[in-house]
């Protein structure tokens, strides 16, 4: 009798989460929960100004405080060659400032003391004499010929430009524009925002001089990358470095980079020979760690009268802050920005990208997205809406005309990606039906009688998730693949370890489901363990929705390797040749005699007690998976909003999400990911951003200024699914964790802009706060969100 896959918690089961058992009891184990004997506490003194030369630092009063064990300055770091560290984009970033501070919130000194209260007090006793320099808060200021040079530390650096980069076919695109009936244009700013996980960053470094072993408990989404980086930067032998990523209180890309606090805490532990804990406060997290976005996007579309898109031009100017620290594959300067328009059949495209240094926090992390895909898709969908409006064409119909058709996959995009599969029109149709698109005009007219403005906004996109393949994707030269190791115990229970790291994403639950699907071992019998570099196989970690596409595939592959050996054991137990063995879930049987069989558990026991002569004992294996392509999920998000023209406040009347992420391992978790992502999309569209004033003060450095939506204002979301299995993934799955954050914002913004269409307004930059909407509504002018803002505004 074959097992019921859903009953054993296999693929497709909305299995309740294993990790919840500790979280609901308050028994999670986050970095700040870990206490080691004799542990000291570190606090960082940050720069209060955006740009200044450091004339002197006096730490004597801090040293004099009882309970202070160590005060570290940039000079002391420099003496150990640790004042600067490499970034993930081949630049350098200051660990503790030596020459200048280059953004408000930059790390200047660190105090290590008996408790964090003393450490904080002692930071207040440090006197830093700053010579203020003019701050630069946007790329226009950075590019000015008389602009002060921010990175005067870099040999060969001229001005503040970091790079020029281009991709696509310029000549062919120029021709397309020459042939166009209509050229449609749009220009916008995707504002700086912050992933802001609830848990800030932190670490607990423990160096043992007797053994030479360094153990660091660290809030990281990619523990193995940290191990490699620590080996390089601290020049410690890699086998003596153990990075443990315990429970992570949300990451969203913020916990990919290596931050100065980690490096300083490691050095402090080496110098004091005591464990040193550093837990960042919220302002430290918001003002110094990896932000997302901050890109100025401009582009135009060449159109034929009948609605066909002939070509696209894109121009991006990105603001990277003081250090070029984007977490992205080496090959690309502006991430996967060129994944824009992948859902549309466009003959030719060209993109030109420029990046600048400014006196703002460094980062450019992929905030719940794959390397700038969010900006790409937002621009794409805003451009598509503008083009449909310019043609006087229905926005849904315009998309339908230009979609890549189901049978065109695999489809080479104008920028060179290869999409794998999808049913775009089907998703759109489900979305239109659910939102009541046909009746919208009547609804709008009815609302107008009440003095309200109604708008409907569509966002349809496919995005590349799950880097690599290793041919094209690497980070600092390390190829992007992932791994899984599976050990079956003699009782038929198992332990699975991977190179990925869950951060609320349910790996402990879903990874076991993949093994259950492949081997028929009940998911409850499989322990999943991640995050400890001493035990987990090497992997590139969890970000860019790569866990299921890459580590998830490795899990299926390692289970298949184990099954192949189990088959030999089954043949031995059943006394037939291997060719005469058939497999059904959880069980091998003799072909033609289904009654005569052995379970996978029987095979496991045999691997330890009754293996055939000459066979290596044990039942375990490891798989490294290098995907042939990225996975290409599709999403159709539609928002219906109502604006109160007297206040500029807009409410979401209905939101429909149709997601096709291929085969769903655990539908409950997939839906949870989508709802969470849509909430972050709503946040960005409505309230959540960081800007700067003329002096370089950050606005959005705490939760009073940096607004996150609560349960009260977050709208409800209606979810629908389409399943197009990924043709190259072993279990047909695609990434999903970020689709909603990537595709969602354009649905909200397009809806508000649709409502304002008759007012002569073409664009309001996010976030669409009531004051911006009201101003656009009453003046008929676009609202452009480039900093600086006036202080207190």
């Amino acid at each position: 009798m074959s097992l019921n896959e859903v009953k054993i918690g296999g693929m497709g089961a909305s299995r309740r989460r294993v990790e919840d058992n500790r979280f609901i009891r308050g028994k999670g184990n986050y970095v700040d929960d870990i206490v080691l004997p004799g542990m000291l506490h570190m606090e960082i003194l940050r720069s209060p100004v955006a740009h200044a030369r450091i004339k002197s630092i006096d730490t004597s009063a801090a040293w004099d405080m009882p309970g202070v064990r160590l005060v570290l300055t940039g000079e002391m770091m420099a003496a150990r060659n640790l004042a600067w560290m490499p970034t993930l984009s081949y630049d350098t970033a200051a660990v503790l400032a030596t020459d200048k501070v280059r953004f408000q919130g930059q790390e200047v000194c660190a105090v290590i003391a008996d408790d964090p209260y003393i450490a904080k007090d002692a930071c207040g006793k440090i006197v830093v004499d700053y010579e203020i320099l003019p701050p630069i808060v946007n790329p226009v200021q950075a590019a000015a010929p008389d602009a002060v040079q921010i990175r005067d530390d870099k040999a060969g650096q001229v001005g503040n430009k970091i790079f020029d980069w281009e991709i696509g076919d310029k000549a062919r695109t120029d021709n397309a524009f020459a042939d166009a009936d209509v050229v449609s244009k749009i220009e916008l700013h995707y504002p700086r925002t912050h992933p802001s996980p609830m848990e800030t960053c932190g670490s607990l470094a423990d160096y043992d001089r007797a053994t030479g072993k360094l153990t660091v408990y660290l809030t990281t989404q990619a523990p193995h990358i940290v191990r490699a980086a620590v080996a390089m930067v601290a020049e410690l032998p890699e086998q003596n470095i153990r990075i443990v990523s315990p429970d992570i209180g949300g990451g969203f890309g913020n916990k990919v980079p290596i931050y100065p606090g980690y490096v300083v805490a490691i050095l402090a532990s080496i110098l004091t020979e005591k464990p040193v804990k550093w837990i960042e406060d919220k302002t430290g997290n918001l003002t110094s760690t990896g932000f997302g976005r901050d890109v100025y996007l401009k582009g135009e579309m060449a159109l034929r009268k009948d609605g066909k898109i002939l070509g696209v031009r894109m121009n991006t100017i990105s603001d990277h802050g003081a250090f070029f620290a984007d977490a992205q594959p080496s090959k690309f300067k502006i991430g996967l920005m060129h994944s824009a328009f992948a859902a549309y059949d466009i003959p030719t495209a060209h993109m030109f990208a420029t990046g600048y240094y400014t006196n703002k926090a460094p980062g450019g992390v992929a905030y719940r997205c794959s390397f700038r895909v969010t900006e790409a898709m937002f621009f794409q969908e805003r451009m598509v809406q503008a083009a449909a409006d310019d043609l006087g064409m229905d926005q849904a119909e315009f998309r339908r005309v230009n979609f890549v058709k189901d049978e065109q996959h695999p489809h080479r995009t104008a920028f060179g990606f290869l999409t794998d599969s999808g049913q775009y029109e089907k998703c759109l149709d489900i979305g239109l039906e659910a939102i009541g698109y046909k009746n919208f005009a009547a609804e709008k007219a009815e609302a107008a009688k009440r003095g309200r403005l109604l708008g409907i906004g569509i966002s349809t996109m496919t995005e590349p998730l799950g880097a690599g393949n290793s041919r094209e994707y690497d980070i600092l030269g390390i190829k992007m693949f992932d791994s899984a190791e599976l050990r079956i115990h003699m009782s038929g229970k198992a332990i699975l370890r991977t190179g990925s790291r869950g951060q609320g994403t349910g790996h402990e639950t879903t990874w076991a489901q993949i093994v259950a699907h492949e081997l028929g071992i009940p998911a409850d019998d499989i322990l999943v363990e991640e995050g400890d570099t001493d035990t987990a196989p090497f992997g590139m970690g969890t970000y860019a929705s790569r866990s299921t596409p890459v580590a998830g595939a490795a899990i299926a592959m390692v289970a298949r390797k184990v099954r192949a050996k189990a088959r030999k054991l089954a043949a031995h137990l059943l006394e037939v040749s291997e060719e005469d063995i058939e497999w059904e879930l959880g069980r091998f049987y003799v072909r033609g005699n289904q009654e005569r069989g052995v379970t996978i558990q029987d095979c496991a026991m045999a691997a330890y007690s009754n293996m055939p002569d000459g066979m290596e004992p044990g039942l375990e294996n490891v798989a490294y998976y290098d995907p042939p392509n990225l996975t290409w999920p599709f999403a159709c998000y539609i928002a219906k909003v109502e604006i109160d023209p007297e206040t500029g406040v807009w409410d979401v009347l209905q939101f429909v999400a149709v997601d096709d992420c291929g085969v769903r391992i655990n539908p409950m978790i997939v839906e949870g990911q989508i709802m969470g992502g849509l909430t972050e999309a709503y946040a960005m569209a409505n309230m959540q951003y960081q800007t700067y004033d003329e002096e370089g003060n950050i606005i959005g450095g705490n939760y009073m200024d940096f607004l996150l939506p609560t349960a009260w204002e977050t709208p409800g979301f209606e979810l629908y699914e389409v399943v197009t299995p990924c043709p190259h993934h072993p279990i047909g799955a695609k990434g999903v964790g970020e689709c909603a954050t990537v595709g969602g914002p354009a649905a909200f913004v397009n809806a508000v802009m649709d409502a304002l269409k008759d007012k002569g307004v073409r664009n309001i930059d996010m976030p669409l706060m009531p004051n911006r909407v009201y101003e656009a509504l009453t003046t008929g002018k676009d609202i452009y969100g480039m900093p600086p803002v006036r202080s207190g505004n």
């Binding site: 990790e19 058992n21 986050y30 609830m198 800030t200 979301f717």
Partner: protein, 175 residues
């Protein structure tokens, strides 16, 4: 010398003013010598080793540190430990009995109301305060009661469902 941050019962250094407090935590009287400026959240976490109460923002915004103070939800990151002297504090660790989970804990798991788990203890404590006053809340009443607690992963929809789930179970248990 430590200012009583971790070693709460060690004698203080002479120059640090301390006060002895007794707090009824999850039904058990706990005492500690604390500096007047020690925050309640830190006493719970480091002093009493009840690390289920999390500190997220230090500014009373995020609600990860929510505990019940004489039955009412408060943010323990902006209350001094000395203010809790003689009072009753309930934390997430007090939700379950030895043998069974609180209906909110069950509901949160059943309805997939948590992902990273960092906001969860505070969410459940805020929800507990609501259900103690109103065992039959509407969705809006739940959303309002939880509006002082931020969640970054779930989008709240399932949290609301979990509270409804728990309310239903608690009503059934009453009958």
């Amino acid at each position: 010398m430590s200012s009583l941050y971790e070693e709460i019962n060690t004698p203080p250094a002479s120059d640090i003013p301390v006060r002895r407090v007794t707090i009824n935590v999850n039904g058990e009287a706990r005492t500690a010598n604390v500096e007047p400026r020690l925050l309640l959240a830190h006493l719970l976490r480091q002093g009493f080793k009840l690390t289920g109460t999390h500190t997220g923002c230090d500014t009373t915004n995020c609600g990860a540190c929510t505990v019940l103070f004489d039955g009412r939800p408060i943010k323990s990151c902006t209350m001094f430990a000395v203010q809790a002297d003689g009072h009753d504090v309930q934390t997430v660790e007090g939700l379950a009995s030895a043998s069974e989970l609180h209906p909110l804990q069950e509901g949160f798991k059943q309805e997939h109301a948590l992902q990273c788990g960092f906001c969860t203890p505070g969410m459940m404590m805020a929800a507990k305060a609501l259900l103690e006053e109103n065992l039959n809340p509407t969705e809006d009443e739940i959303r309002w009661a939880l509006s002082g607690n931020l969640c970054r992963c779930t989008g709240y929809q399932n949290i609301v469902k979990a509270v409804l789930w728990a309310a239903e179970k608690m009503r059934a248990e009453l009958n």
